[in-house]
């Protein structure tokens, strides 16, 4: 029942003929937005890329794409870009791989950046994977450190093997060198609205008929569970005992201005939704405060939260492995400890105010 094979775009590893790689200069950051609001990771990447562009003595470029997103050009300058490409068209209203990757390829082919950086969000990873295959070039996923060396090589460093190791990946033969980078790792520059620069309009070279997908609707999450961006996480494991037990954790999370996390066993038991899961098959988080309640500390969970700034562990078992990586430990029954923490927190007005 399949249709005839479509004609393929030319995808080849070796570039045609001799390529003058020295033409490739500068760093391009692709700005991700929804409904005209930029994702924080885009400005974080501009901040980190600014430092590298100065080291390379090369321009820092930003690509803003979407529909009615012109106001983001000013923001891109304010956060460090020297030059901004703007692709603003109704066909770019919703993110779709084909249209967005086409525009990125137009910019890459015409303006030849030596490095392309994209936020390692779901959308960013979807986009980067498509672009790198089309170019073709090397792509390193989910980086936590970025730098350039004396050979103008991007040193893209990322955790490997469930964060047990760290590896620096290089792409020596191809340009642009591409990487996606994790949200919340790099710092954005202070916003400077006095900065400006050249704006180049990029009309998307794609027709609706070429795109086989249509976004029917976007359902904003009412709960707004966003573990990766959370600054405080109160997480529970088997020790929480039941779905009802998580209400207590939610109460503490509310008082602290945080969200609730969970281990895989309790998610699989159906006590709480998968969007709360922290660890190897869930989210990797690095909040400022992580409170682990009734969590024994299995490796698969720990790899997902070990880079939290402060870890507080509450467990009945003084031998639980979770304590070894925690800054503060409370040996006791979480059903007694958490209500006491809620009372103490309320007394200190810890609710997030900004």
């Amino acid at each position: 029942m399949a249709e005839e094979k479509k004609s393929r775009p030319a995808v080849g590893l070796q570039p045609e003929g001799d390529v003058d790689w020295s033409q490739y200069r500068g760093i391009l950051v692709v700005v991700e937005q929804r409904d005209g609001v930029a994702k924080k990771v885009s400005w974080q990447l501009l901040g980190e890329a600014r430092r590298m562009a100065d080291k390379l003595q090369a321009p820092l470029m930003a690509l803003v794409l979407g529909h009615q997103v012109g106001h983001l050009v000013k923001e891109a300058f304010a956060y460090g870009a020297d030059q901004v490409f703007l692709s603003d068209a109704p066909i770019l209203q919703d993110y779709r791989t084909r249209s967005y990757s086409r525009v990125c390829l137009q910019v890459i082919r015409e303006y030849k950046p030596e490095i392309v950086l994209i936020g390692a969000t779901y959308t960013g990873r979807d986009l980067a994977g498509a672009i790198a295959t089309h170019v073709p070039t090397g792509l390193t996923a989910d980086c936590t450190q970025l730098d350039v060396d004396e050979n103008r090589l991007l040193n893209a460093t990322r955790p490997a093997f469930s964060e047990k190791m760290v590896a620096t990946i290089l792409c020596k033969q191809f340009k642009p060198q591409m990487a996606t980078a994790r949200p919340g790792v790099f710092a954005a520059l202070p916003r400077d609205d006095a900065r400006s620069g050249q704006v180049i309009e990029i009309p998307p070279q794609i027709e609706e008929s070429e795109i086989g997908t249509r976004v029917l609707e976007f359902i904003q999450e009412r709960q707004g569970i966003n573990l990766e961006d959370a600054e405080v996480i109160v997480a529970g494991g088997r020790g929480v005992g039941s779905p009802e037990g998580f209400r207590l954790l939610q109460e503490l999370a509310d008082v602290l201005g945080g969200v609730v996390g969970a281990t895989r066993p309790v998610v699989e038991a159906g006590w709480i939704g998968h969007e709360h899961q922290v660890g190897q098959t869930g989210s990797t988080v690095r909040p400022k405060l992580y409170i682990a309640a009734g969590i024994s500390g299995a490796v698969q969970h720990v790899v997902g939260m070990q880079h939290s700034d402060y870890i507080v562990a509450i467990n009945k078992d003084p031998e639980a492995p979770i304590f070894s990586g925690a800054h503060y430990g409370i040996v006791g029954d979480l059903f007694e400890v958490i209500p006491a923490l809620i009372t103490a927190a309320k007394a200190r007005k810890t609710t997030h105010v900004s």
Binding site: M1, A2, K5, P9, V11, G12, T97, T121, Y122, R125, G129, A130, A132, T133, P136, G138, L139, A160, S162, K164, M165, V166, A167, T168, I169, L170, C171, Q173, G212, T213, L216, E217, I219, N226, L256, G257, Q280, T281, K288, L289, A298, V299, Q300, Y310, I311, V312, S324, H327, Y328, G329, I330, G332, E336, A340, T343, A344, R348, K349, T350, V353
Partner: protein, 280 residues
């Protein structure tokens, strides 16, 4: 008949992986091999479509000969055929080279059993964690790309349209796509079925189809394996574990312990960073 391909990878169960304290390297030997967690969700989704609409489900993997175990596991669950793409020439591939070979394999499977309408992959592997092979394969095949899918809402075999839910950081996107398409599966998508008894019996006798570099007629050898991989590992190391000085809080009452914890936390930079205000 609908032809669905499922891409799987055999991965070491990282729970069992340890760091050698002497050499500071990863000990991979001895870690049991399992089918990547998310790939099994892709297989289950394919089998559900097979149950409802009738389909041929072809499982494929690139890996060493011992990956035939992973194929058999999928056959036991209900896949029709399993292909093991295995050859020293494919070794050392990064995501770009892998997506090329997987794309070629899906093409070849299409030549043998009819064009592939739908491809399922896991959202990422638990050993590589890149999530780049799925998009790469979709690109190679020029299929519609649907990543991070938590649900197949509907499929219409007549119009060849599928509606899926993509779960993103800030919400759920309902997307309609025309086949052929490639879907990458999230853990939420389903709960993989257990192997049936007839499945187990079939798997015990089943010999996976093995394709080597010589089985592909127009394989570009500059695009496979180490040679076809633009990325290289510059260096890798085991990060130094920041020694954590665990302070166990003990007090006469839980209220005292709670007070002690907040006193300690308020002495750090946390309140400033989190916008906490201490009153009084």
């Amino acid at each position: 008949m609908l032809h669905i391909a499922v891409c799987i990878k055999q991965v070491p169960d990282s729970r069992e992986m340890r760091i050698d304290p002497k050499t500071n390297t990863l000990i991979r030997q001895g870690a049991p091999a399992i089918v990547n967690y998310f790939d099994l969700r892709g297989l289950e989704a394919a089998l559900q479509l097979k149950d409802e609409f009738g389909a041929r489900v072809t499982v494929l993997t690139m890996g060493p000969p011992s990956a035939d175990k992973a194929i058999k596991e999928c056959i036991a669950m209900g896949a029709d055929e399993g292909i093991l793409v295995s050859d020293r020439g494919f070794a050392g591939a990064d995501t770009l080279a892998t997506s090329y070979v997987v794309g070629q394999t899906i093409d070849k499977a299409g030549e043998v059993w009819g064009p592939v309408d739908l491809v399922f992959c896991g959202k990422q592997t638990i050993d590589g964690d890149t999530g780049q092979v799925g998009p790469g394969v979709a690109c190679r095949l020029d299929y519609e790309q649907l990543t991070y899918v938590e649900k197949v809402e509907s499929f219409d075999p007549n119009t060849r349209e599928i509606v899926v839910h993509r779960h993103l950081e800030d919400g759920v996107e309902r997307v309609q796509a025309k086949l052929p398409a490639l879907i990458t599966a999230l853990a939420e998508m389903n709960k993989p079925r257990r192997a049936s008894l007839p499945g187990v019996l079939r798997a015990a006798r089943y010999q996976p189809i093995v394709w080597t570099t010589n089985d592909f007629t127009d394989l570009d050898r500059s695009k496979i394996g180490l040679r076809g991989s633009p990325t290289v590992v510059g260096r890798s190391w085991v990060p130094e574990q920041k020694p954590v000085n665990t302070k166990i809080l003990t007090g006469d009452t839980v209220n005292q312990v709670a007070e002690d914890l907040f006193t300690a936390l308020f002495a750090t930079e946390l309140p400033g960073k989190l916008g906490w205000v201490q009153e009084g």
